[in-house]
Symmetry: C2
Subunit: 156 residues, 2 copies
Amino acid sequence: MTKPAGFDPLSVPESNSTSYPMPYAEQARKRWFRRLGDHAGLSHFGVNICRIEPGGRSSERHWHQEQDEFVYILEGEAVLVTDAGEEILRPGMCAGFPAGVANGHHFLNRAEHDLVFLVVGDRTPSEVATYPDIDMHGRTGPDGRMRFTRKDGSPF
Amino acid sequence: MTKPAGFDPLSVPESNSTSYPMPYAEQARKRWFRRLGDHAGLSHFGVNICRIEPGGRSSERHWHQEQDEFVYILEGEAVLVTDAGEEILRPGMCAGFPAGVANGHHFLNRAEHDLVFLVVGDRTPSEVATYPDIDMHGRTGPDGRMRFTRKDGSPF
């Protein structure tokens, strides 16, 4: 029998796990994900609800070589940082980051309330993530999981 | 110089164009899309804001062979119809439809106000769309655009 397809995102568990090495892992603890696409059985792209506590950030500033990314703000106030500088995004606003465009981006929560947004990213067998501001580089390993090294390839 | 990445979806033009043949094209006139992903330069998946006027529907009930689909309700009240029957989705609720799962779905607006949702779908070189309730079949042509025929392959 077919089950109903609709669901409440709040029914999906929230996690603040990260594969970042220290000290960046510590910065990521205020960022919580609910993996809605996975919950629905999707595999071609990810759809997450990301909640960032005051003082937190979505990630280190980065851009993707092979994956498009899209963000839609649901609650709170985001400071989006790119090569263009800082811009404020409020609920109902959005932003997209095409694969291969060397414009590092991340979202900061400098407000006193949670920042909540939807984020979509496609899935590719391999990926390279470039971090313009810090000595870190990301590349998928043979198992498809992102591995982080210093920019010269040495381990953390 | 890098331009700001954030934008207001309402700045993106809205269209109710459809490639459905008659009489289904007529049914689709109350459905309006803003192509946010295209606006941001994304090509791997589409992100649209869909607005459905009272009495309208998102599409004929269908399922995709190769493309995942995800919907997040922003405003109004959706009647989601699948093989499980009807279910009501309100703002903040979502639903996902994995590629290849033969569970036709569409969203109806039976309320007195507009229904607005975000819809994400990935892009594949080819695609087959199956319509369980009507004598229509969709398949991408050599130009990558969806072509609709009757189920026996004859033209409308």
